[in-house]
Symmetry: C3
Subunit: 303 residues, 3 copies
């Protein structure tokens, strides 16, 4: 990915590696250490498939976890949690009322949260829930390319600019679009979030992760193809992003979490023999990788 | 089990190993390769205990996974999935309406699905749900002996033939009956399914797995006793059966999945030291076992 | 912890190690062997985060597992199960009616159960559910110090004695109180349970676990700090306590389960490199640790 050039808006910008002493790297290292030293609580409303891995990844990253589904639980816990993670996989009927209610209450409380729009575009209930978040949006959205494009479509953000980014067909939980194709949607989403919450970020996961604060676009190469052969690498990345959001600004939290996952994925790939041992080694690596390793990650920026 | 003789209907038939060049072995190898080459999506409506292992086993076998509980999610995803897996463990109140609705809609869409009648016989809600499936049945049923017998009882299939197969008492999630005692129920179930869906199969899991298309009875020895010391070996077998059903006929899918699990169980037993490492090694083995190993599995047939 | 002196009631009592031939050690060894020889069924109504680990820990300890959420399933399964485990994490709306109903029905059936009051004090729904258990209480309560104190508060038990034990602020799922601070609450809870169910016990998990039958206070040192770096060590301890309760009295079941977990934790810590491998090694150790090792555990008693 180094020395790549990328269409962003309608112009081509140079993508360059940020320097070794860029202040962003300092903020990343500080976030990693702060989580490990203060074990912040990030709570989750997340799907049943990967809820265990989300909690274990948050613990392995140094934070603590609490999972709830009732608005009264979420609101009570929001008072003692640094951030909230909401993931719209495996919906149940009562979520249609509960999730819009929770988003509105978090907005009134001024509590930051991370949204994972899993399977955006599948199901009328999910669409209704995701649309309700438009006016009480999260601080960070993290998804795959298809989900980011679908969410920006749902929120009518793709009409706001003159260029034509491709829309996505519903894709289940797997992306059918590549990360670069979601660049425009990610930028527009990040700007929309920022208008509501101040600082904001959007992270697009894929072969090379993309993170933007609505102004700059960062690309984070690395990781392991084995991360797609276990369920929940993306969900647990969303959860750990919330853990970092408890101690850092949205852009730093998103980049720190992606970089942690990429380094841990590489370490796990080298010491595993299939998806079973990969997951075990991955959790160990989340625990063992150093703040220096994470902060020294390749970070390419398009300005 | 070789050279065994088994009561089937009212007559004794010889059980023999199928030959090394039996076309069934070719179909099994093709199914295994096809899944690994095309990563088909099989969606699941499954219990909360083992939902993570179901997804991870499907991924480790080469497929992709999506889990949902709302009819609108299931029907939307059915359009892009090769097969659906429904497992009636850990019921919630809304399932009583949702699951009959889903079965009827899958029937009208002509979409194949696999039923795991977990704990059949326990609870009035589960009984009502399972009875509703009688007229919109799955393509494959996979369960333990007690569950297969209980389901055939519920569907009134045990009155259709002159012989008297034993009925089962409710058994929780563990079978209290051995596989052979479910032979008659499995045959009658398979014929019932086939009348609705064309080709069909029933798989009975146990010390020696049994699979039938309503005509022939196949027995698949092997596996590991440690598979009963982790939760979800049966559930994840049902999920992987759906993965294979996305690319193969019901009989081939059922035999390929059972054979894969038996070979992976044997490999995992040899390299593990307890149920924790067994599950890790089992997922690695699902990923690493070759199509030739699976297709060369012992397959005994009663004609 | 040896030769410690502990405030208990208003007096100071000597804490001493029980002898090597104390009958309690014999009962512990018998419970461990009985579970491994008879594979008793303990059913669970438990949270979605750790439901898989609860089942796997019960299996690794030698028992069998069944998980349900509908009252008709729980009541049917109670007929064939030795004990029931109820854990109030990850509440759904229908639990508000289902759980009080289940507790009342278990009381009328005379079936023993174990309560894990996860996150007691968080959420009005959880509080209503926990308050409803006051008159149909479990045989055993197992929680962290904050949860035990909060539950005793909710049940109005802290007014029954002259001394003033500290109340706890809501703490999410992590304890903010240390085990000793819950001694009084644990004693009063155990006496309350005992008035309803005959023999009863309360277990407080922490750096040194505490178990009381309302008369004596036992402290069980050991374990591993890594048990707080995986999700569900406490939940699965509650589940395995139910497994032992299927074959033993409440005090023996609680001490056997805590001792098993402490020994397994120590073994796992020695052979793991992070929380991923710790969980794997922990399940292996639950399977491999001997009844002699468990029964020989350090057990300090305050008489």
């Amino acid at each position: 990915m180094s020395n790549d050039s990328t269409r962003c808006g309608n112009a081509a910008y140079a993508t360059t590696q940020i320097s070794a002493d860029d202040p962003l790297r300092t903020r990343i290292a500080e976030a990693v250490r702060s989580v490990r030293n203060t074990t912040p609580l990030a709570q989750s409303f997340t799907n049943f498939v990967t809820i265990n891995l989300v909690a274990n990844a948050q613990l392995a990253s140094g934070g603590t976890a609490a999972m709830s589904f009732l608005p009264d639980d979420i609101v009570d816990t929001a008072q003692i949690a640094g951030a909230t993670y909401i993931n719209v996989g495996t919906l149940l009927p009562f979520y249609k009322d509960a999730l819009p209610d929770i988003a509105e209450r978090l907005a009134h409380l001024g509590k930051p949260w991370v949204l994972d729009p899993v399977a955006a575009g599948i199901g009328t209930t999910r669409t209704a829930i995701l649309q309700s978040f438009r006016d009480y949006p999260p601080t960070i959205v993290r998804g795959n390319a298809s989900e980011i494009i679908a969410l920006a479509d749902m929120w009518g953000l793709n009409d706001n600019v003159g260029d034509a980014y491709p829309s996505s067909r519903p894709a289940g939980v797997e992306s059918v679009d590549d990360v670069d194709s979601a660049t425009g949607a990610a930028l527009r989403l990040a700007r929309h979030l920022g208008r509501h919450t101040g600082k904001a970020a959007v992270a697009v996961s894929g072969e090379v992760d993309l993170v933007t604060d609505g102004e700059h676009v960062y690309r984070l190469p690395g990781g392991s193809a084995m991360m797609t052969k276990i369920t929940g690498a993306g969900c647990s990345l969303g959860g750990v992003t919330a853990t970092y959001l408890a101690v850092a600004d949205p852009l730093t939290a998103s980049i720190a979490a992606s970089s942690l996952f990429n380094r841990a994925g590489e370490i796990a790939e080298g010491s595993s023999h299939g998806p079973g041992s990969f997951q075990v080694e991955f959790l160990d690596a989340l625990w063992n990788v150093t703040d220096e390793q994470i902060a020294a990650s390749p970070i390419l920026v398009t300005r």
